[in-house]
């Protein structure tokens, strides 16, 4: 197991060896976001912006007009709240080619507690026009996603992570912006997961299979633009959906999927996530247990959604 932030730092270094078109901006948290190794390897391409995230966002917009792609890095709470108005008005509205890549997401943050546990960033960034929102599921996918988002003209927000995470993919995984991926086929219902919840979704599908439920698992690593076709196809094929995210249940992946379902193939949807409250300090796995982000929580949601599906069928 490694961490997404370590993978991010390594990915930056690997990419920097082959392309010189990007710079990394930091707000005095290079140790936390994983960019310290990049700073040490490529000091000339690392721009220290100090603990001043608002200035950093707008500086990035200016830098982007001078022939480089700025990658703004900081913790998601600051990227998505303290400096989000700068991300909106300095980057998104003028359509500058800036990438915002944030660590410290949801309960994966663990012991630092709620001030640093961003549980709103997906909802916030996906509501801003021109921003694309990406959250890879493991270090291999992150490494494949980074060059793709660098090659995608325009603003992109990407989540990394803080705590050790199991591998879901092998190193040959492909990443296509805007496309979800079926990781496991199933007929009875579909679990659509993002980020740290993807490996838990796979674990849940395993448990469900033992209980006679055939669950499809989808990794939805692009939350905006979301893969409408795959959601509609999953809804139509399996008739019931569970979403799973380390984020508030309001406005994140669950919201995005529900928006698609209600306008395409309306089926029952259950959302696994943080139930609209602030959590607390603790080990990320203990927090996942207490706040309902485990494979077992996904299984429970799967049973609820299957009951609703059955009720719809009976009623129909």
């Amino acid at each position: 197991m490694t961490t997404m932030r370590e993978a991010f730092g390594e990915a930056l270094i690997e990419l920097a060896r082959t392309r010189d078109d990007f710079v990394v901006l930091d707000a005095d948290v290079a140790g936390g976001t994983g960019t310290a190794v990049f700073r040490d390897a490529f000091p000339d391409r690392f721009i220290q912006c100090a603990i001043a995230e608002q200035n950093m966002m707008s500086v990035a917009a200016g830098l982007s007009t001078t022939g480089v792609v700025p990658i703004v890095t900081c913790y998601a709470v600051f990227a998505s709240m303290r400096a989000v108005e700068q991300a909106r008005n300095s980057i998104a509205y003028p359509e500058f080619n800036v990438k915002v890549i944030a660590s410290h997401l949801g309960l994966d943050v663990g012991p630092d507690g709620p001030t640093h546990q961003a549980i709103e960033d997906i909802a916030i960034y996906r509501a801003i026009p021109n921003f694309r929102v990406v959250a890879p599921a493991d270090p291999f996918e992150l490494k494949k996603a980074l060059p793709v988002i660098l090659d995608t003209e325009g603003p992109v927000y990407m989540r990394t992570g803080r705590s050790p995470i199991p591998y879901v993919f092998d190193r040959d995984v492909e990443f296509e912006l805007g496309r979800g991926k079926v990781l496991r086929e199933g007929m009875d219902m579909t679990i659509i997961a993002v980020g740290v919840m993807v490996h838990r979704a796979l674990e849940a599908a395993e448990i469900l299979e033992g209980e006679g439920v055939s669950a499809r698992v989808v990794n939805m690593s692009t939350i905006k633009p979301i893969d409408r076709e795959l959601i509609a196809e999953s809804a139509s094929r399996t008739g019931a959906l569970v979403t799973a995210e380390d984020h508030n249940v309001i406005g994140g992946l669950g919201g995005a999927v529900s928006e698609v379902v209600t306008s395409t193939v309306p089926v029952p949807v259950e959302c696994v996530g943080i139930r609209d409250r602030f959590a607390e300090s603790g080990d990320p796995n203990d927090l996942a247990e207490k706040y309902g982000l485990t494979a077992e929580a996904i299984c429970a949601a799967a049973k609820r959604v299957l009951e609703r599906k059955a009720a719809v069928s009976a009623g129909g």
Binding site: A50, Q54, N55, S58, V59, A60, E85, Q86, S90
Partner: protein, 277 residues
């Protein structure tokens, strides 16, 4: 409309006429803080900057960022005078389908660098341009115009530290110090003073001038070119609503309105115009 061959005061008077004209077309806008910046903007566009419709796509050209984005009529007036677009666009200021937005939009208006309007952000954007210019070895200079009320924003002071830290001597900030912000006198809103001392303490080369004197404006920009290793800031003491007698130092004209009836006739006449055309 290039304005070539005319004196700076003549060009400044034309900018004032443009501002009032588009203000009347829009029926709203921010005339007070546009008029106070006329001389600084006139000087920048005619004497200081290497920036024209002909070199818009040249990565080595100078940049002007209007961080006090609500004063965009003065920017639109200067861009029209330089030939970036025609004065017929003034009719559509703040109207649906027009290229002239209520605050600047770089994608809609040729010559606009940045979508300013949210105060403080244009300043940081300009710092990013200046740092990028230095990193890329491009010799361009960056000019950024801030409002006095804008200095209330914490982001400005983040940027002040950043500019000094990166020794951005290719950037000049100008504060249009007309003493009034949206609701009141600056001095009644918060403790802006001692302003020059603040900038100096933040490591900036600080100058104070009469912002309506072309001589003093020119001297300050020339001095800024000699400063090495730190950015420059010019505190330009100005009069809000300058040039329109009933608007001068009257905070009512900060905000979103346009002169009507007799006031409209008077404002246009003071700019040498009969009507808005």
């Amino acid at each position: 409309m290039s304005g070539e061959g005319r004196s700076l005061p003549e060009k400044a008077l034309e900018l004032r006429g443009h501002i009032i004209t588009m203000n009347c077309h829009a029926g709203s806008g921010h005339p007070g803080g546009s008029l106070s910046a006329v001389e600084v903007v006139t000087y920048l566009f005619n004497e200081e900057m290497n920036f024209s419709p002909g070199n818009l796509d040249d990565p080595a050209r100078d940049r002007f960022v209007l961080s006090k984005g609500h004063a965009c009529p003065v920017l639109y007036a200067a861009l029209a005078q330089k030939g970036f677009f025609g004065t017929e666009e003034f009719k559509m200021l703040r109207h649906v389908g027009g290229m002239l937005q209520g605050h600047p939009d770089r994608l809609k208006t040729p010559g606009v660098e940045f979508n300013s309007g949210s105060l403080g952000q244009g300043f940081s954007f300009a710092l990013g341009c200046a740092l990028g210019g230095k990193r890329a070895g491009r010799g361009f200079r960056v000019y950024v115009l801030l409002g006095d009320g804008e200095l209330n924003e914490g982001q400005v002071w983040e940027g002040m530290m950043f500019g000094a830290h990166y020794r951005l001597d290719n950037l000049v900030a100008v504060v249009d110090y007309n003493k009034y912000q949206s609701d009141d006198l600056c001095s009644n809103v918060t403790a802006l003073e001692p302003l020059a001392e603040k900038f100096t303490a933040f490591g900036w080369h600080t100058m104070e001038i009469d912002g309506h004197s072309f001589q003093e404006i020119g001297d300050a920009f020339k001095e800024a070119r000699t400063v090495k290793g730190r950015p420059s800031v010019i505190i330009a003491h100005t009069v809000k609503g300058k040039g329109i007698s009933f608007m001068e130092n009257n905070p009512v004209w900060h905000g979103s309105l346009a002169p009507q009836g007799e006031e409209r006739v008077r404002a246009l006449r003071e700019c040498g115009l009969e009507d808005i055309g």
